[in-house]
Symmetry: C2
Subunit: 239 residues, 2 copies
């Protein structure tokens, strides 16, 4: 029996990755005037800086911006113009200020699921930015609770479910990331509705789901499929 | 009757503002080689940039660092060297990486309070950074719950207390900031133990407490005074 349905935020309720992609493209255009980004050594320096900074800054636009500034200085050996560094900061601000645009049909899907189950929003990233997005989305009142977390791993879901005093077998998570939304929940014994977004951050592509997991998850193309998928998982959980 | 005691994190459990002060001093030393920071116009530009960015970035070291970079570019009219911008990014990283040093006696104080009441940690700022500090503090296991919030206002405390299903009259908060830890809790009808830190961020100095509030709060010099202060407030809450 399912007793709680979780929804992811970025790229499940509202568009997000597109804005990061645009910022990355602009970053490449700016530093591409100084260095050849196709050069293997440049690329390696860039990846190493980003990876090191992700561990220090965590997810989100502010960390990405600081990392872009540092990476740009590193790969240009300090030759980048100050005006271009200012452009990188403005890029980060534009990601923080982008309008919150809901995926078509998601409001109706969440409303329909919320009519049958308590729903919780579990979103990852920068606390301040996520709170603003939740508020601007106009969906906040549909969710009984909103959890903003720094990482979506089994420990995080275990903590959230403990606060609801709910065994994972009674929980299903809806989201676009196999790595963050589906795999950790299945590992605990829960259920997943995967709704792929049209672009996925490379970091989120890394997951360990296999054929054995098919029974506990369903994939939908768009929000309109969520209600039926939840009902199907509820039937399986019953059986 | 008191039934829950909250503790603030930064400058209540562990040192924090000192590191921000040091970063600010270093920032002033770096940009001071380009402009006269005592100049009224420079100072006004700096404050305006910081205030605008606080609304966009929220609290914390990452937002502060981005703001320092932007402010430095603005007040030097872009004359700042790229190497100095890199130094500013490194300053921000040093704040994120500083060791977590507990205030003397705070572990004993939290342990003693936790022996008599459920205790919750309510800390403001960057989610990722605060989680790391909580973990490094070694105090996490003393707290039944840890709430990391983006702003400490009456609405935040109301939400947290609602999750505990507790009326504010049964809650006391221990912290160094009158603005963030004491005033909003007193406004809801709760109780406060104010433990001033030796430095206070100017932003936190702004509060609206008056003589009428004296009955619902106590001030202590150091962690060793917390247990007695909580006991005294508990007696008042009883009466």
């Amino acid at each position: 029996m399912l007793r709680l349905i979780g929804f992811d935020g970025d790229d499940t309720l509202w568009h997000s990755e597109d804005y990061y992609r645009q910022a990355n493209d602009s970053f490449a255009a700016i530093v591409g005037r100084y260095v050849d980004l196709a050069d293997a050594e440049v690329h390696a320096t860039m990846l190493a800086t980003e990876r090191r900074n992700l561990a220090l800054f965590g997810y989100g636009a502010k960390g990405m911006t600081l990392s872009m500034v540092e990476t740009a200085i590193a790969i240009t050996d300090g030759r980048i113009a100050v005006a271009d560094i200012h452009r990188l900061v403005e890029l980060g601000k534009s990601v923080l200020q982008h309008p919150v645009e809901l995926l078509p049909g998601i409001r109706e899907a969440v409303t329909a699921v919320a009519a049958e189950y308590p729903v919780v929003l579990i979103t990852k990233g920068d606390l301040f930015h996520q709170e603003k997005k939740v508020e601007q989305s106009g969906l906040a009142e549909l969710f009984g609770r909103i959890e903003i977390v720094s990482e979506k791993n089994p420990a995080t879901y275990r903590r959230v479910l403990a606060e609801f005093e709910l065994p994972p077998e009674q929980f299903a998570m809806v989201g676009n990331s196999l790595r963050s939304d589906i795999e950790p929940v299945l590992r605990l014994g829960g259920w997943g509705v995967h709704m792929p977004y049209h672009v996925t951050w490379s970091h989120e592509l890394d997951h360990g789901l296999g054929a054995d997991d098919a029974q506990r998850m369903l994939t939908v193309d768009a929000p309109v499929g969520i209600v039926a998928a939840v009902a199907e998982l509820a039937a399986r959980a019953q059986g």
